[in-house]
Subunit: 347 residues, 4 copies
């Protein structure tokens, strides 16, 4: 079944493999008359780009987006917005040794089981390079709702985490450090830890927290398409994500109703917000916040045992230029997916 | 936007409010020629039914399902299966006092914001009674894949949790106790705790773990419709759910790649299974397991301050017959939603 | 693939076989706060009902619709509207002789090829009785746009046709005769012809014209989901329909651009309207009009040769109570489907 | 509502304006392992290309398709196939005079009503240049079912038509003449007529007939997504189409059941085929045939009165290089859309 479209009304359809000609997509359902800020779109891509800092993969990909349609004289026309990002720095030779090998905890084995065949170069379609299209789509979506603030940030790396509620953070600090953690003391610990992990040829997991502010109440559909169910699906669709929780999340499962209930103020706002801004699947005007868990990157620079297509055991070692920790570069992806979910309810 | 249909190929569309005439639905896309076991469907409804034990709501609803179409001489015809469950025990009078009041952490406020108007009797469409249709749909879905085993169970209530991996559990014990916890010592502690919580007029959250076994590899779509993204959306769409994790989940975010990677055996199975049976969004043939967090039920038998439609503060106390803890009755719902997700990939 | 849902935003999902328990459906996406006129809905069903006049089938089915959800205190709540119509007058015995026989130009053979199995009683799901759900859904859709006028009428029966443009007709006369033809002289000829056809044990085809007035401009999507493409699909999905044309239709294929172009008036209206109210797939505010061709009913009261499942030739004769001409009863169905298409663009 | 995707399982999403950077699309849901014949795809584009003969528009566009993803070592990978066709010969200056003018029977007025704004160059998104993406998508679809034969041809131009049943035609002659009419005597008359029409600065309508052979029985869904309903929508979505009929079509509306019914042969085939290969919305294994009506091209080389955005009357004359008759170039488009419909039922 075709699974490369996200959204019902504001729809992003994507294509592209990591080592093919280009990554790209189509945004369908964008309202007409929106003056697109193309620099803001490229800025989001630059936040996702490899090689942007010392703690991410050192691949040097320009990742410049080109728009092919749907925009006339700087404004959206209401017709589909096609875009492409050329793949310019593929070193396919880096991957020739993977042709018949299944890398542990990658998608090599399952793609072969599903499709009987795969583009083995750098993960092909399963590469996180696919998220380029999400970032472009999300950056367009963001521009449909300038009043809504979507701020994601790294809230933990391994065992290191921000020990403060998000309300105590200054989101303007997120982009001031390579980890994208707005708590600068924690950010520095995380950065040092990531450097250490990389030296050891290893990788490390982490979490991203995202806060959505100024969203009006009444968004979301009851029953199957609850706002948080759509956010959850969106986040879980990002490579390497293992979990999603919003509001009180898994902690809420340990609480009593008498402590968990959010009591109302006369204006309809609530004194506490363990609901996470969503009740019955519909936004209530309070902050929406959620947390996303990312596993450690599967490609490590250590020798691992694995198998080839014929079931022969062999030893392999990671090659190429990979991230020791995925969360710094995943921050704009989380924001993009959140924006896509919201746009689908807003348009 | 219409949000009452789940699935693309095996589609469940539902309708019904808690105090309307009936709850029901339509299953479209069911293959023809399946000999439906109607008792097995009713059995799942009975597992969800109020009044089934001392630790759940004492409302006495029969919840008998009637099939209206799509079945001929005991077998599915390939045409849509319509079904209804009459609402027989509604005491609407119980809810008259809620007409103009917003209950804390319920969907009253957000429904009014979205629709400008709501059926205030017992939650209306936001009532968990809506899940009846999911259980029927899921019970049909289960019968399409008799070889696949879907076992959900209560893994924690409040701070009490099963301190064993699921592999050490005997799922046949789940139905032997009112909590639906297959670890009997823990089950007893949970049951006592829930009784205590109810005596205090309070409620408590919990988690459900679900294990899917014997699923073939190759199921799931890459990119947006990853198998775990669909499972996550399905679970997050259930009332009161605050979080979802699969495989290593949030723990995986603290791990290193060298410890998280699942190394292959020559036959393609993996020595460990932190991936949770899914890689790149596609099943790999190993067990799929995930955990779902439920918040405490919002209706408590204690006095709470709240507001009415006009923003007047007032005191209210829960009336009616409610669950002190939702997870025992949510077990069949989790299984049903898992079955619906799988059926959509299988048909 | 599940094919029993119509619409994207205003969605009708239907179920039911002619000789099952009930016919029904779910309308999802209906806005909240609409005061539903239930008599108007039943009125449309009565227009479709068998036994309503001497020239239609004499089956006596009450076809009373019961609403199960989505309406509270007379107004829609925004949640799905479930409804059922009990099947009360099935004489299944009438159809026992058809169990293993394929009736010519019916769906018996193709259903068996697709599903390997079928409910053979009265056509099962392929029966025109399925259109009951369409009429209910369409009658709800109509009430979302009271200013829009949708008038369908019988424009031909066999070789007898209305020899006037629709602008010369008084639509209030449509319901004054059994054929539903607003040109009374022609209506009488049609009626006599249908009586004659029935006497001969035969059936006859016909066409229905539909005119949509007061529709605002700007409705419809370009490219694949053009307004007339959706109307065409809707009409072609009705049992027995063989063709659809709008505006100049097939006649337009014989014309020159210089005679076909609709020149503008200064107010944006057009002097002629060969476009049929739609340009580039989008309504332009002029009348939309289209014509739908229905084949003769396949069940005739004459002896025909046919085959059984095993390919044995045999003779059969139509039994039961069937329409000699389908178009009088199809008028409300055409209107209903038109209303469903419009509602999907309007909500 | 986003309307630029066709199909549910085999999905084509398109983008591009006539005078933007490129036309393109994404095919999602294509099975893996298909060895794509790229020359066959380009061949279909060449059949659609302007400037291919003396009786079509003399714009010289190369229309070379470039594939960006979804194909590895010549075979489809199961991942989305992105493609682009650069716009190389746009003379935007030709259209500057149209900036504020509404051309009669074009989509200028309705696009402005819907979007408040439009790319006025050459029709923008409403240009038939959009069908390039359909032809590419359809050419891929064709390759999924090599045994199925889809043959479209021009069956009438103005009042000139082929006076033979399709069974008497040799489809291999269709491509031997510029009109794409397999009856060579009629083809010559058509060609002369089109030349004459062009000399007069006028345009002319026509019809295309399409025959699908070797399609297995059992394809199509009952109720809303009948095979012929999907074919009808597909055809009506092509620019300039005003009508669709299949099998007996509008003639069937004049016939009696006793002459219209297709009697069975013992092997399940039918003696006649007025059903057009589809019964109850499902293919029966006989030939499917249908006819599509195209209106005359709206741009004529004669002076016409029209209005500008402010409602001022003015005179305009067609400029640029336009087709005097659209049907010769529409033949591959009809085939492409038919292939897309079939692929969606087959994959």
């Amino acid at each position: 079944m075709a699974g490369n479209t996200f959204g019902k009304k504001f729809r992003l359809t994507t294509f592209g493999e990591s080592h093919g000609v280009a990554i790209g997509g189509v945004v369908d359902g964008c309202p007409s008359g929106v003056s697109l800020n193309f620099e803001a779109i490229q800025y989001e891509l630059d936040r996702r780009r490899p090689g942007q800092s010392a703690i991410v993969t050192q691949r040097k990909e320009a990742d410049k987006v080109e728009f092919l349609s749907g925009v006339f004289e700087g404004k959206t026309t209401g017709t589909p917005i096609g875009f492409v990002v050329q793949n310019t720095n593929q070193k396919s030779g880096d991957y020739e040794h993977l042709k018949d090998v299944y890398r542990p905890s990658h998608a090599d084995y399952t793609y072969d089981k599903k499709y009987g065949f795969r583009d083995y170069r750098g993960g092909g379609r399963s590469s996180a390079r696919e998220t380029i299209s999400r970032v472009v789509g999300g950056a367009i979506a963001k521009q449909l709702m300038p009043e809504v603030k979507i701020n994601a940030f790294v809230s933990s790396v391994g065992e290191i985490f921000i020990d403060k509620p998000y309300q105590a953070l200054d989101f303007s600090l997120t982009e001031t450090n390579d980890v994208r953690c707005p708590d600068l003391v924690t950010a520095q610990k995380m950065e040092e830890y990531i450097r250490q992990i990389r030296k050891e040829g290893d990788t490390i997991g982490g979490t991203i927290t995202c806060v959505i502010q100024n969203l009006p109440s009444g968004l979301g559909d009851p029953v199957f398409d609850k706002l948080h169910a759509e956010l959850g699906k969106a986040m879980l669709s990002i490579n390497a994500v293992k979990g999603f929780e919003y509001g009180s999340g898994f902690c809420g499962a340990k609480m009593r109703g008498s402590e968990h209930n959010d009591l109302f103020n006369p204006d309809g706002s609530t004194k506490s917000n363990l609901s996470g801004g969503i009740q019955g699947g519909i936004s209530n005007g309070m902050d929406i916040y959620f947390r996303v868990a990312f596993k450690p990157v599967a490609t490590i620079m250590q020798t691992q045992q694995t198998i080839d297509k014929d079931g022969n055991l062999l030893e392999m070692q990671g090659k190429g230029r990979h991230d020791p920790c995925v969360v710094p570069r995943a921050v704009p992806i989380v924001e993009a997916m959140a924006a896509l979910v919201l746009a689908d309810f807003i348009v």
